[in-house]
Symmetry: C2
């Protein structure tokens, strides 16, 4: 129901029942539960219907809020959004994830509490919290599992810590997964098969298939950084293998190539700067990195058959040469049937993709049919 109402357009019960493919009686029960909670309401449009009382229902976007939290390797961004994912207040600060969960989550509590006050809200207005972290997560429990760059976080009860302060459901997911949700919500709300690829210090993908985020059996679906690429020269990867995508096409990998050409570069940001300055060496290296990413994505296209691939992360900021390298390989290494409607584009949700996706994760959970039916049960 929320999926349909979140565009803000009011609808009648019959319209909702038809669009949801459900019985009117089922829809009515859910609407009653949502009304009881103040999350939806009748629209005041007596004028347009000639004085008859309205029977059209709409989401009350501002009735409740959620917190979207994006925890990176060295940053923390928190936003308060309404029920359509519109950002009401947001804030960011530098913090090292290596300081461990107690320090970082305490900062989340402080920032989140302050933003709630700044947006004129109280704790009981909060419906749920969504969080992205830079590592694999057991989605069911919200615990990070063997996250390589998050010492001290393995198995940590992230929801438990935050629930002691906020008393609402807490959903935790991998940062690339929540960026995929954020990008989809902002730019591709009607696309059911989308892959978001982050190319930065690491390389990973968030996969939306059949309209659902796909996490796989162990929560590591989309972990494409260690797929081997062709034509590698035996570049060692930190995982123990050679010629992994991450070892040849990540920001630091391309920077390392540029250093061997005598250019000054150590991060993806340096690569972006050199491309901006028109360095031929950098442009060539970025094009090749695009081809390497494209080779892996050609397998992704054959397997998953998405209609949109979004490229994000710092390396995406190098611009058209990078995307062109990706397209070159994807279109040359796949069957036409899989690419006839495929678009490969740069991310448009920008630095807010993380918090927006995290807020969507929270909203989807809070407004899911199962949760709503649980409310129906509670009220009946």
């Amino acid at each position: 129901m929320f999926q349909i109402l979140r565009d803000g357009r009011p609808r009648t019960r019959s319209e909702l029942a038809e669009q949801m493919g459900l019985a009117r009686s089922t829809v009515t029960l859910r609407i009653e539960a949502l009304m009881e909670l103040g999350l939806v309401g009748f629209v005041n449009d007596a004028v347009s219907t000639g004085g008859r009382p309205s029977s059209r229902i709409a989401l009350k976007a501002g009735s409740k809020v959620v917190l979207g939290v994006d925890i990176g390797a060295s940053h923390l961004q928190v936003a308060v959004t309404d029920l359509t994912g519109h950002i009401l207040q947001q804030s960011a600060r530098s913090i090292e994830i290596t300081q461990g969960p107690d320090v970082v989550l305490q900062a989340v509590v402080e920032l989140g509490s302050k933003l709630l006050i700044d947006s004129g809200r109280v704790l009981t207005d909060l419906l749920a919290i969504g969080i992205g972290v830079p590592g694999p997560v057991e989605h069911r429990t919200g615990r990070p599992i063997n996250p390589p760059i998050m010492p001290g976080w393995n198995g940590y009860d992230v929801p438990g810590y935050l629930q002691r302060h906020f008393h609402v459901p807490v959903l935790v997911d991998n940062d690339v997964n929540i960026m995929a949700l954020g990008e989809r919500n902002v730019a591709w709300p009607k696309v059911d098969n989308l892959v978001f690829v982050k190319v930065a210090t690491g390389i990973g993908a968030g996969i939306v298939s059949s309209g659902m985020l796909q996490r796989g059996a162990d929560g590591v679906a989309g972990d494409i950084g260690h797929i081997r690429v062709h034509g590698g020269t035996g570049v060692p990867c930190h995982c123990g293998n050679q010629d992994c995508l991450e070892a040849v096409a990540s920001g630091p990998a391309v920077a390392s190539k540029l250093r061997s050409l005598g250019l000054e570069a150590s991060t993806g940001e340096d690569v972006v700067r050199l491309v901006g300055e028109g360095s031929t060496g950098a442009i060539h290296a970025v094009r090749q990195a695009g081809r390497d990413v494209g080779e892996v994505l050609s397998a992704c296209v054959s397997l998953i058959n998405p209609s949109v691939i979004v490229i994000g992360g710092s390396m995406a900021l190098t611009g058209e040469q990078f995307i062109a390298g990706i397209r070159e390989m994807v279109y040359s290494r796949t069957i036409p049937l899989a690419t006839q409607h495929l678009q490969i584009v740069q991310s448009s949700s920008g630095p807010n993709a993380g918090v927006l996706g995290a807020s969507m994760l929270a909203i989807h959970h809070a407004m899911s049919p199962h949760r709503i039916d649980a409310m129906v049960l509670g009220l009946s």
Copy 2:
């Protein structure tokens, strides 16, 4: 609801509501609709409850039947099954798919009608029909789209043809997709992330993620036959590229290698025979084909993170050397987190995987919550 009841075990309304995560009122409406249609009923277990009338509900597996149809390049197999997918009657015959849809679908009508009679059923006992075909299908309409080995079938209204005779919903899908459904139902009913790989004349995969068959944006998800493998020697593929998986590891590709060694082989079946006879050349070639398939599946594991990969098709019958080659590459080319719970096994559903999967496709559709709610609507 069907997903829960199909194991045959009776359950109370409360048990159903809890397992479905739905309100009891919603569950009651659905049960009433299914009872009205005779698909579920109260269990006669007054003895076990001490004379009190039973309130436990179970699927009436034999109340209705479906047809499962597996159309191959040169064969047709049809089965009548009950609502748990148990085969009541089945039959197969040789027919060339190149004879076109009118000839092949007429044979489906004849075989299906005969099997209904043989199982003592009438047309009104039939709930739905599921069909697998060896090519890409637009699932929504049931029309094959540019299927390479099915001349005359492009855009053909398969459901329309069969509905003129059977007057029930007709679901059409790619044959590897339905084999994935069949294998899951027979051997892995509790696994939500499973990949079925068919290695025969062609190579393709059926992908179940989050418990759902994934078809992708254009219905060609799992089309892995044209992913490029490493270490190829420029083997030309019929798709126009080189070193595609299908060009190096399919039955005919391995047979062709064996011919160059002076062995007599032209199909996957010949390869199976030579391996059975202990030919060292054949065993080596099969092991390498396994490695090539495994290389592609390592990308699949990184992307999709399944917990089970099932290997089927004629090449799977070559046995342990083939599977060992696959495992060798998958475990060496992926991160441990993605493979810690992964099983790679030979198909166990055998030649019936197709009709069983097709019958599941039909049952799932006929018993889906949307359909049941539509019945609720019709009855209210």
